[in-house]
């Protein structure tokens, strides 16, 4: 298998990213199995639980796509093209490699799940979670396998869609998404306020808010760049600001998603302070939230790696002109700090609004 050969030859950092993909898909798969076990034991209220369990799945898929984008093995390269392996087949190879990582994760999730239920005997922690995972109820095999296939299928389809060879077209300016994003965010907030806790409207509201922030993200990153460029920039601010503006479409989406995750975390904290404990996934809510936060942060970091790869030529040009390394590093730090300065207040503001909407 070509995809596996390409996977085997890559550097440790790339392998680590793929391992993380397998781990996050294992987490998402485990949560789905938990929801299934809950549903067999207590069918009432299982639909909102299933909707909530789709959130970690979406986060895992987003991360898998980000990793596939940065994978050096599946990028169109001169050597590959010369060997007859064009962009289309490399896209397929990327999808296969994502499927392999996610399927490994799903298999791991199934093994751990069965082990904790006590179905596989002979290892430590055997049946440690038999109560939580409802070991007394038989697990519907077809349903379990279908749920476990969700992550690999969704991840590979999204990878193939994201990496499909496209003619280079000038995309929309990043700022055009901002009004749409704000509108979608407002819809999400309204839906949350209307639905209240415990109904399927709440996850749907969060989905809308996340979508809205993801739409707003590129425009925000672009605005950050403009801010950095304000009033007679020297080399440092010029490089940092223009790079931010250039990379806004790439960095903006994962940044918006991370903002939404941050807002959700702040909302949960605010609700807890007011005495409402909200746990849609029961005792696994905490681990699920951690998984989503990990995925969102890892996706943003992976996108930063992608940006770094895309800027290799620029970096070489600047080094060739005699730009000292400190200038380049300081410019990168400046970019990151500008994004943090804009995004932390944004998360905080959205969290204020959602907690108002939920405790009205």
């Amino acid at each position: 298998m070509l995809a596996l050969r390409l996977v085997r030859g890559s550097r440790p950092l790339v392998q680590l990213r793929r391992l993380l993909v397998a781990a996050t898909s294992a987490g998402a798969g485990f949560l789905l199995l938990y929801v299934l076990a809950e549903a067999t034991a207590r069918p009432a209220g299982s639909f909102p639980r299933l909707l909530w369990a789709l959130v970690p799945l979406a986060a895992a898929v987003q991360f898998a796509v980000a990793v596939a984008r940065t994978d050096p093995a599946t990028r169109p390269r001169e050597g590959m093209d010369a060997a007859g392996l064009g962009p289309v087949r490399l896209t397929l190879a990327a999808a296969v490699s994502t499927t392999v990582a996610c399927t490994l994760g799903s298999a791991l999730a199934l093994a751990v799940f069965l082990h904790l239920r006590g179905d596989l005997a002979g290892l430590p922690f055997d049946a440690a979670g038999s109560g939580l995972l409802h070991a007394e109820q038989p697990l519907p095999v077809a349903a379990a396998l279908t749920l476990l296939a969700l992550v690999p299928a969704a991840a590979s389809a999204a990878t193939a869609l994201a990496l499909r060879p496209r003619p280079a077209t000038a995309g929309l300016a990043p700022q055009t998404g901002v009004p749409w994003g704000v509108a979608v965010c407002a819809c999400g907030l309204a839906l949350q306020a209307y639905a209240g806790q415990g109904s399927p409207g709440l996850p749907a509201g969060w989905v809308l808010i996340t979508l809205g922030l993801a739409l707003t993200g590129p425009g925000l990153a672009y605005a950050c760049g403009t801010l950095v460029l304000a009033v007679r920039p020297g080399a440092l601010r010029l490089l940092a600001g223009r790079a931010l503006q250039e990379e806004a479409p790439r960095l903006g989406r994962p940044l918006g998603v991370l903002c939404a995750v941050g807002a959700a975390a702040l909302t949960a904290l605010a609700l807890r302070e007011r005495g409402t404990v909200f746990a849609p996934l029961g005792p696994l809510t905490g681990p699920a939230a951690a998984l989503v936060a990990l995925c969102a942060a890892a996706t943003l970091l992976t996108s930063a790696v992608e940006v770094r790869q895309a800027r290799t030529a620029t970096r070489e040009t600047l080094t060739g002109l005699g730009a000292p390394g400190t200038v380049l590093r300081t410019a990168a730090t400046l970019r990151a700090s500008a994004l943090v300065v804009v995004c932390v207040p944004l998360s905080w503001g959205v969290a204020q609004l959602t907690s108002l909407a939920l405790t009205r």
Binding site: P233, G234, A235, L239, E246, T314, L318, L321, G322
Partner: protein, 251 residues
Amino acid sequence: MVAPADDAPPDNDVLWARSLHYSHSGSPGLIGVSVSVRQGEILALTGPRGSGKTTLLRCLAGSLRPEQGEVWFNSVPVHTMGALARERLRRDRFGWIGPEPHLVPELKVWENAALPLLIAGASHRTAKHTACEWLERLDIAAFARKRPGALTRAEAQRVALARALVNEPAVIFADEPTAPLHRAERALLLRTLTTAARSHEITVLLATHDEQSAAVADRRFALLDGRTAGAAVSAGPAETTEDQAACSLSA
């Protein structure tokens, strides 16, 4: 700077290199090349592709460190300098223009041209003024506020030339600057380069494999297979290896 008398380069040479050796991970790039470049002259480095022109230019410009041999710039040894000092030398005294313009895609044209000044710490206003003056002289002032992506190859190459000229360097290294251009654009770019160099007394090292381009130079320096052309290049052994290669192919 005190150097032994027989090691010091002649005074009127701005760049001077002696018996440079360099290999690209095993395959020889330069084999004992010595060259001297006089103040203000335009020197053409000629030779076919793969003859070591780019490697020689990069050794002289301090972006490659030769494995053996010496490089002196204005009686200062470049081959013993640290990476930081060579970086500063490239930034302040040298200009580089290659076969690809290598402009920074997200910067506007004038910002690209002003980049060496800005990196050297010039103020925004001075850098912009100087860069726009150079763009004016090279007839590309109309594109100053565009992105490099909107330019044709010839225009982008002229922006790269403006960037090389903007800090009025002592030496410009031009590595096949006309390679991607058609003949009319080629002649125009070379004329621009030589005019600017003569009026500002800038030394130019022009690597080219094209006879017409080499004709603008004051002097030529030919390279072949990593050696100074005309130096002993024995034909006998090369033929033998070719024969051996043919044998192993047919076997």
